[in-house]
Symmetry: D2
């Protein structure tokens, strides 16, 4: 699955970044006492939703526009574990792409500010009828202009 | 919240019982190495869905009838822990009631056939418009006859 | 399972109350668009941990004392649904009991301050060796004095 | 993070493959009615554990050898959605590598035998003291011989 346009070098849009703060819940940790690897996709989603709430791009905003934006690829790299009770922060950075996609990069830091996890998700635009958009919908083009995506 | 009609003594309908077999997943267990207490409601749901698939009363069947059956009360009693890797069985028994409710009782056993958990859920009938049914919908009355609920 | 001492009328200790604020995550909601009933036990745990962090009674504090406090009973009553994106608050109140138990009562309110859910959990004290304490451990008696549990 | 040795072309060991059968649970699906993307990592784990139980490489086996095998990278590609009630199968294939890693590839198929999801996880060996093994532990070398990993 080709997820980025071939000649494009994706780049982070540093000014479109948020930092979400969380704390590891008891039920997030597994019998090894560390956060179960699959739960990081939830932490990414927390970061992504916080980004959306700050910049006006939540799932609810998007649904009003009659689109859904399913995740078609996720990648997660683990560097250090988080344990029950740890505080962490999720840095969410939008990635510039020419494709009709929303790409986020994530960095999770522990309370000592050490990088514990990085990741990336790619979302596409589906119309209400379930058709894949090959170009960005109007509302997303407007959003890009408004937040300075191409600056 | 009054969940049963006052003069009624609810009773188990022993012939409407199923036994579902499961195994504790890594991610079901918490840092103590035992199944997190909240996950038992998922085990109950597994039992309830298995009951539904055996007796023709799944969520999908019910949605076709334009009803949903939200859980309005759940109770869970823990007697022994289950650990990662344990096999268990969920005995699901429907409880007789005159009210417009579906009440299930659950018993979870470990691989030594010891009782580890009991519980109960109560569901009500909501119409498509979200209105609570004070009497059992026709499709449920038919279902009761078909399976011998009142026998 | 007898969960309270028979002659005792349990009462809420109103001055030992906390209010935790949360927001419904995308993944907390089910195909009906509402929070899956089992997830409320996680919301209760969020409330309970917040109570613990405010009053010095977290799982980590308790583990330092060589005890664990497994949930042996949970009850959850649903009055109204919460939907994806809703804000809610979890009021957590400790319940006075003479038994060697920790009993919490929970009330969850939506953003219109309507009561959507109530519940209760009962926890017991297990020593490091897995033995049930029939009397409250010393550290818990000290904690009770410190916070004015019996006042 | 370099996850494979540079000159090596990883290849699937086709004879070390299992197929696990599951059914989408109510609580696996999100408000869009489809399986939440993060839950596929749980489906991969189901496939991986089934592989382990068939070929004698479960987490419990590994813990007996005083190692843990945390997931350090996971990748998930979504092609089609799964809905509540759908049956699916998880094909789990071990990938040949010279590195001290366990790499699995996953393919999830729906009941029409259409490919809905692919993925990969990479696990490393951590000693009891939390030290990363740069070479495969003895027990894993023995396991490889036993199952014909290098054939």
């Amino acid at each position: 699955m080709l997820l980025r346009m071939s000649k494009e070098k994706p780049s982070r849009i540093e000014h479109l970044t948020t930092v979400y703060h969380g704390r590891v819940k008891f039920n997030d940790a597994d019998p090894l006492g560390i956060v179960w690897h699959g739960n990081y996709l939830g932490y990414f989603e927390d970061g992504r939703e916080y980004f959306g709430s700050k910049y006006g791009l939540t799932y609810l905003n998007i649904h009003e526009e009659m689109y859904s934006v399913p995740v078609v690829q996720s990648i997660c790299n683990h560097i250090k574990p988080l344990k029950y009770g740890d505080k962490y922060s999720v840095k969410t950075i939008i990635i510039h792409t020419l494709a009709a996609k929303i790409i986020f990069h994530y960095e999770i830091y522990n309370q000592e500010n050490e990088l514990v996890c990085t990741g990336e998700t790619t979302q596409v635009f589906l119309s209400k009828e379930g058709r894949l958009s090959l170009i960005c919908p109007d509302f997303y083009e407007s959003w890009k202009k408004q937040v300075g995506y191409d600056k």
